[in-house]
């Protein structure tokens, strides 16, 4: 496996798309290549921070928005009752 292939496998590893055999091959390459090994660690760290810190901060929309939206929706039920 060359470094280019390894790099592409790394991403598939983080997508959870690798077979067991591919994971073993990738590990084998990483053990013998310090450049790829460093890159893998950086990607792993990036992936971790993205998943862990971001989901903590869920933003909320202001409650007034619900009223604002509902006021723009025509009251269909009343119309239906009136027609029917």
């Amino acid at each position: 496996m060359d470094c280019k292939q390894a790099s592409s496998l790394m991403h598939e590893y983080f997508d959870d798309d690798l077979t067991h055999e591919q994971v073993v091959e990738l590990k084998h390459h990483l053990q013998g290549c310090s450049v790829c090994s460093a890159r893998f660690q950086e990607l792993e760290q990036t992936e971790m921070v993205l998943f862990s810190t971001i989901r903590h901060k869920a933003l909320s929309a202001p409650d007034e928005l619900v009223d604002a939206i509902m006021s723009k929706i025509p009251n269909q039920r009343r119309q239906q009752a009136w027609v029917g």
Partner: protein, 191 residues
Amino acid sequence: MVVNHFDTRLVKLARKGDQGAFAELVDLYKDKIFHLAYRMLSNRHEAEDIVQETFLRVYKNWNRYDEKQKFSTWIYRIATNLCIDRLRKRKPNYYLDAEMNDQDGLDGYSLIPGDERTPESEYLLSETQQMIHQAIEGLPAKYKSVIILRYLQEMSLQEIGEILDMPVTTVKTRVHRGREFLRKKLEPKMS
């Protein structure tokens, strides 16, 4: 995201014109859509506009909604498209983005000034969080939407493909490019 039977019921009622059910859908999805729009646009007011516009489109387009599809996929598609439209109207960044395609390398993207941003003092974010948000903000639109759906909304690659109406292979390429972009941006700050 889990298939939600509660959603299905509410959607059925709302489509028939039940306002209470519609209001509940708004309540269930407003924060998620707001969060998505805020991260895409980095602007609170615009994000609020997107939330409103999204629900109005849902209301107006009930006849186009296919009940075999998940409601969440449909509403996210509407919201994401609205955000992408807005980003497109902001000329400079989009121009650069449009010049590139998936076959290109990432190097050109380092030209984008990623640090021109609105202060987020109101949210009192930790340094790490700010760093990540800045990095995401610097992403070109097409990677941004994929990364936000993947990490902020925790969607599967399959679902993202459905929302953005593109093959999963394209979603994957964009996740990979986006992840590389973020790695390069974050790495010097983390070590």
